[in-house]
């Protein structure tokens, strides 16, 4: 079988699996977030944290809860790393330095999992499981909660108000957080971990072993809860693996099947959330339109990536016969291309191949995928809310063309809504371009590049820096290898990018949800812009590509385009 055919078959199998899971998982999540009942284990959790899970929250209260929970998470994780030297089961690793501990804490709480350390050489079992893995669950659940709050903002109608609720109610953060973790992430993770273990992934708490190498000599290898960490790392679009090689490491990702399975885990919740969205707003077709938008972009990027990687332009790659640099032979070019698009179009950032080693255009596709704001399908929750904000912008610009003031899902997009949406779309470009520009004038920052002008690879070096901030601000977490990011400058600025890029958008999304929830819905008529139609999905794709493209075109031109066109 030719590698191209293998890639296409894997892609087809992936799409089929996602399609099978779409309805059941989407409907199940809608039921989870809409049910009035609490499970017994959930009640115990509420009692422990002292939360009244039945109290309705308006957006400021919801936001306060999100922020309070996340600040507590950052502090706990920071302290845990700082005292690692004194913790048991730590392979004798030292405590983490303050700037790196801050960076890592921000990174895991922010659902980014940018790692400026090598997992197997820096983090012991306690930090991995009690710290990082816990955040892998709850940071994902937080993103889903915020997305559900926004969806509820759209869905709130006169009926829900008559049923005893108040205007502006968005649900309860603690209930959403706990339910997302207990009823969605944990069950799927358990099943997923079993599959991975069955396929050969490692799951233990053993110490360091001395193992012999094929070519003679020995190396040290530590054990760890690889399988369980791996599954939530993908499912929660986190991306931070135990091994520095991430999902390219055989302990995390043993073979071609697990590779495909992990891609499935990355994409399944973000895609299925569109069904949940459709269910909650009472019109599944609206969910399909969003799904179609995400799907078109995702598939387009995947095919482009496969094309550029299989074409392996350039003399060295032509000579080698394939763009195999940085890719695992057990996965191949096709599967690696699919993985790298899935991980950059979501906020995952896990890698099964090395992004810096992709062709120049391949690197550009990864960068652009993150620059879109990771909305196709995006991170768990964050992808949906990011896409809905873009839908608001698209409705506002083009919706006027049907001769009505813009409305989406029956809610008017007025001054307040557009102000919040505009703030949302300003955040990541400001962070990415601002910090990248600052790095270009700081000799220290420039010194971290592996590829430099002196080596005749100035544009690739620029891509390394641009990639780092794009990854951080969009909460991706993947790295364009080459950049030494463990410096005070990068640890601090990328940490800031992660926190601001994660939580400022949440502020605006929740404010938007509150504003929408307070509105009386406008009934749909023949004069209403039909946002469930393919035309609108196409319009949304166009709006996303043009707005993002215009923002980043100069930067991309000086990075991957300059490299790829030379």
């Amino acid at each position: 079988m030719s590698p191209v055919l293998a890639g296409v078959l894997q892609l087809t199998a992936l799409i089929a699996a996602l399609a099978l899971a779409y309805r059941p998982l989407g409907d199940y999540m809608a039921a989870v977030y809409s049910s009035p009942k609490h499970l017994r284990v959930e009640k115990v959790v509420y009692r422990c944290i002292g939360a009244n899970a039945d109290a309705q929250m308006r957006w400021p209260a919801y936001l306060r809860s999100v922020l309070a929970f996340s600040v507590a998470g950052v502090l706990f994780l920071y302290l845990l790393q700082r005292v690692q030297g004194g913790l048991p089961l730590s392979f004798g690793f030292a405590s983490i330095s303050p700037d790196q501990a801050f960076n890592t804490a921000a990174s895991f709480v922010g659902n980014t999992n940018w790692q400026s350390y090598s997992g197997e050489q820096a983090m012991g079992h306690v930090v991995q499981t009690a710290g990082l893995a816990v955040q892998n669950f709850v940071s994902a659940a937080t993103g889903m909660a915020v997305a559900i709050a926004l969806v509820r903002g759209f869905a709130r109608s006169v009926h829900s108000r008559q049923a005893g609720g108040h205007t502006g109610d968005l649900g309860n953060f603690w209930a959403d957080l706990v339910r997302g973790t207990v009823r969605v992430l944990i069950p799927i993770s358990v099943l997923g971990a079993l599959v991975l273990v069955a396929c050969g992934a490692i799951q233990n708490f053993s110490g360091i072993h001395e193992v012999g190498q094929f070519m003679g000599g020995t190396q040290q290898t530590g054990g760890g809860a690889y399988a369980s960490q791996e599954v939530i790392k993908e499912l929660g679009t986190n991306g931070g693996g135990i091994a520095n090689a991430n999902s390219a490491h055989p302990f995390e990702n043993p073979d071609a099947f697990t590779n495909l399975f992990e891609i499935f885990l990355i994409l399944v919740i973000p895609f299925s959330l569109t069904r949940t969205f459709g269910k909650i707003v009472g019109n599944v077709k609206q969910g399909y339109a969003i799904l179609a938008t995400m799907g078109v972009i995702w598939l387009g990027f995947t095919l482009l990536m496969m094309w550029t990687e299989f074409a392996h332009g350039g003399p060295a790659l032509q000579a080698a016969g394939a763009a195999m640099e940085g890719k695992e032979t057990r996965f191949g070019v096709g599967s690696s291309a699919i993985f790298s698009v899935a991980t950059t179009l979501t906020s995952t950032g896990a890698v099964d191949s090395f992004h810096s080693s992709f062709t120049a255009f391949g690197g550009g596709i990864q960068l652009l995928g993150m620059m879109l704001g990771e909305i196709a399908p995006g991170g768990v929750g964050s992808g949906l809310y990011g896409m809905l904000v873009m839908a608001i912008i698209a409705v506002f610009i083009a919706g006027l063309m049907v001769g009505r003031t813009p409305e989406y899902l029956g809610k008017k997009i007025g001054t307040r809504e557009i102000k919040l949406a505009a703030c949302y779309i300003l955040i990541t470009p400001t962070l990415v371009l601002g910090f990248s520009a600052a790095s270009m004038v700081m000799p220290d920052a420039l010194g971290s590049m592996l590829n430099t002008k002196a080596l005749g690879a100035g544009s690739h070096g620029f891509s390394e820096v641009l990639y780092a901030f794009t990854s951080g601000a969009n909460n991706n977490g993947s790295a364009f290898a080459g950049l030494n990011a463990n410096t005070p400058w990068y640890n601090t600025t990328i940490g800031l990018c992660i926190l601001l890029g994660r939580f400022l958008p949440m502020v605006f999304v929740l404010a938007l949800a509150g504003s929408l929830a307070e509105q009386k819905p406008v009934p749909e008529t023949a004069g209403t812009l039909r946002t469930e139609k393919p035309l609108f999905a196409g319009l949304l794709v166009g709006t996303i590509l043009i707005i993002t493209g215009l923002t980043y075109f100069p930067a991309l031109a000086l990075g991957p385009l300059a490299e790829g066109l030379s």
Partner: protein, 720 residues
């Protein structure tokens, strides 16, 4: 781009309004069904206006004025900066060229606004003429003595006297007398109207002229706030405030401007790293090309022109908010009489009872109606003539005719004639009354008479029984079927409204049976029969509770609460001052059918805004392909691949993009003023069409435009 139109004379309202097709008598179907030009065609545009408005455009360069539009303010700052750089290196033709075109970009934007405003100014000047300083004859409190005071000193509650030839000194209500008034100064309609105390025709407007008789007016508005003052402010744009959607769009444009500012500011460090540091002038040129200047330049002109299109149709919107709301309206309340049907019922057929013929009924009906000057009576005569060839007999032909007029007591009318010695008495009127008359005189009532009248009632018509007493004795001959006549073209109009997602509700005082018949015939979606003002109000509130926006027209004082409650309340100019105060629009022609056009104008305004925004943003793609290779092809030769337009030189590429950016504004001024073509189709079709024209068009047009400009520039010797 400009349609060949007759230059608008800066003349009176009357002359400008004659150019407007909608100034037609009430019973006419609203304009719009003419072929060719768009539905709500309209804002005329003459290139000469550009020249005339030029001084205004220069005056608007004041930064305090520019700050209102964040996008154009950035361009102005850019113009100043490039000029400074050009002055610093005076031998560089490129710097001067960029500076000049940036200034032109700003001036073109101001020109668009100035032209839009200029058209209102001409109308305001005419109105001012009507508002010459008047002298009021104020009555003392006891009403006995008069004193002469200037019109500007009148206060609310003052009583003033006006006689034939006087200009009414201020807005008010007639409290005594009846007069004919020439309101052409405001409405452009030269036929005088009657104004009388009490009822719904008591309102008079300052600046209009009493033609006959004497009236006493109670002043209801302060000087400076009169209707004519407000009109002047409105058409001049002085009272113009940004509407909610316009504000929201401005926010979005400002945020896009910030994004592009960021992209350009951060580009320099990137460029320095790449070893391709850019001159400031080039960065400023890139910035101006990227920020949405097209829509930023035309946004306020679009808003002013939208209001202006209403003014040209003799509708005054008291707020721009109302015009936007008009586009969103999903329920239209239309009064049956005058809007859906012609003003009056008309005879449709003569139905004989058993034993008589249609011709007999027609003859008797005609005879009885000869002296009946009511529209119903006239229509009977007309029908008899058209359908039965009965020549209209003149009243003088009938000697000894004794006309019996209609009274509320007898509820019938008719005539007693003696013709060649034969006595004939003819009566027509309400069924009960005519039957009673026949029975009283010992005559016979055909058994099917009641049946026939019931049938007509059930069909929504009004039956008039015709009876005759001659040598054969008194007897019922038959029935005249009077019915409402639905205006031509209304049915099609309602179908279109339905396609646009607008529900029409007919409001009538008729009973439900009659109302239903007319509603079915006219094709409205719903009707409200035996409507009282309270019913109307309840209906509006019900619709609004469901999230719908409601538009209605009204003229009476009892309409005022509903007019105030409706999202778009159009008061008729003939209406009471209470109604005019309550509504947010006034129709000077008092033509209720215009409501439909108001909705279309509202929609057109929003579509124009959306279309030009889409166009503006789509334009940027091509500009990147022109400028980025021009900036960086030296440092990274590979980037020349992006120069897909094959522009002749880097300088020419950047200059071409800037020139295109400026010229597109002027090219789109006519579109901004006229509004994009509007046809009543479903949202889906409209979006598809507009996306194709303004979205795809916006992507492609600049590639062609920039290439053409570049070709021209490359022909100039020495500029490489």
């Amino acid at each position: 781009m400009t349609a060949p139109v007759k230059p608008e004379e800066p003349g009176s309202m009357a002359s400008s309004s004659t150019a407007t097709p909608t100034r037609a008598p009430h019973q006419d179907v609203p304009s719009g069904h003419q072929a060719g030009d768009g539905r709500v065609g309209g804002g005329l545009f003459d290139p000469k206006q550009l020249v005339k408005s030029f001084p205004d455009a220069i005056r608007k360069l004041d930064p305090r004025v520019m700050a209102k539009s964040p996008v154009m303010f950035v361009v102005e700052v850019g113009s100043v900066l490039t000029t400074i750089f050009a002055v610093k290196s005076p031998t560089d033709w490129f710097g001067w060229a960029i500076a000049a075109w940036l200034w032109l970009t700003v001036i073109f934007a101001n020109l668009a606004e100035a032209v839009a405003e200029g058209r209102g100014k001409a109308q305001a000047d005419t109105l001012r003429k009507a508002k010459t300083d008047t002298v009021a004859r104020r009555l003392s409190e006891d009403g006995k003595t008069e004193e002469q005071v200037p019109g500007t000193e009148l206060r609310i509650g003052d009583l003033v006297v006006c006689e034939a030839g006087d200009i009414i000194p201020g807005d008010g209500d007639v409290v005594e007398g009846v007069a004919s008034v020439d309101e052409s100064a405001i409405t452009g309609e030269s036929a005088p109207v009657i104004r009388e105390s009490g009822g719904d025709r008591s309102a008079v407007t300052g600046g209009t002229k009493v033609l006959s008789d004497r009236i006493v007016i109670k002043i209801t508005t302060k000087p400076g706030e009169t209707f004519i003052d407000r009109m002047i402010n409105l058409v001049e744009g002085a009272a113009r405030q940004k509407t909610p959607n316009e504000i929201a769009l401005n926010i979005l444009l400002a945020s896009l401007t910030v994004v592009f500012l960021l992209a350009v500011v951060t580009l320099q460090p990137f460029a320095v790293y790449a070893g391709a540091e850019q001159p400031m002038i080039v960065l400023l040129a890139l910035l101006v090309c990227l920020i949405p200047t097209t829509i930023g330049a035309l946004l306020s002109a679009i808003g002013i022109a939208g209001m202006d299109r209403l003014v040209q149709r003799n509708v005054l919107a008291m707020s721009g908010r109302a015009v936007e709301a008009a586009g969103d309206v999903s329920t239209l309340l239309l009064d049956k009489t005058g809007t859906i049907t012609l003003g009056n019922r008309q005879a449709a057929e003569f139905v004989p009872v058993r034993g008589t013929t249609e011709a007999e009924v027609a003859d008797a009906a005609q005879l009885s109606s000869l002296a009946d000057e009511t529209p119903e009576g006239r229509s009977i005569v007309v029908l008899a003539k058209e359908k039965y060839g009965l020549r209209e007999r003149h009243q003088g032909e009938l000697v000894d005719a004794e006309w019996v007029p209609f009274t509320a007591q007898t509820r019938m009318s008719g005539v007693d004639v003696t013709d060649d010695g034969a006595h004939r008495k003819v009566r027509k009127g309400a069924t009960g009354s005519v039957i009673a008359w026949v029975e009283e005189r010992g005559g016979e009532v055909a058994e099917d008479a009641q049946q026939l009248t019931d049938a007509i009632s059930q069909a929504g018509g009004t039956p008039l029984l015709v009876a005759l007493e001659d040598e054969r004795g008194p007897r019922v001959l038959g029935v005249i079927h009077l019915k409402d006549v639905v205006k031509e073209g209304m049915r099609e109009r309602f179908v279109e409204l339905r396609k646009m997602g607008i529900k029409t509700v007919m409001i009538t005082g008729d009973n439900p049976l009659t109302a239903k018949a007319i509603a079915d015939e006219a094709g409205v979606d719903d009707f409200l029969a035996e409507a009282t003002p309270e019913d109307k109000m309840a209906l509006i509130k019900r619709e609004q509770a469901g999230g719908k926006l409601v538009a209605m027209t009204g003229d009476g004082t009892n309409d005022a609460p509903a007019l105030a409650q409706a999202d778009v309340g159009v008061a008729m100019n003939t209406g009471t001052s209470a109604a005019k105060e309550a509504g947010n629009m006034v129709d000077l022609d008092s033509n209720p059918t215009k409501l439909i056009e108001i909705v279309e104008i509202g929609k057109q305004l929003l579509i124009t805004r959306g279309a030009l925004t889409t166009f503006s943003i789509a334009n940027d793609v091509a500009k990147y392909f022109a400028i980025i290779p021009a900036m960086f092809a030296v440092a990274y030769p590979g980037l020349d691949t992006l120069n897909i337009m094959r522009l002749s030189s880097p300088n020419s590429a950047i200059l071409s993009a800037i020139i295109f950016n400026a010229l597109i504004i002027i090219a789109l001024v006519p579109l901004a003023l006229k509004g994009v073509q509007y046809r009543p189709v479903s949202a889906d079709k409209m979006l598809r069409r507009n996306l194709a024209v303004y979205g795809l068009g916006g992507l492609i047009a600049p590639f062609i435009g920039i290439k053409l400009i570049d070709l021209l520039i490359s022909l100039i010797p020495g500029l490489h």
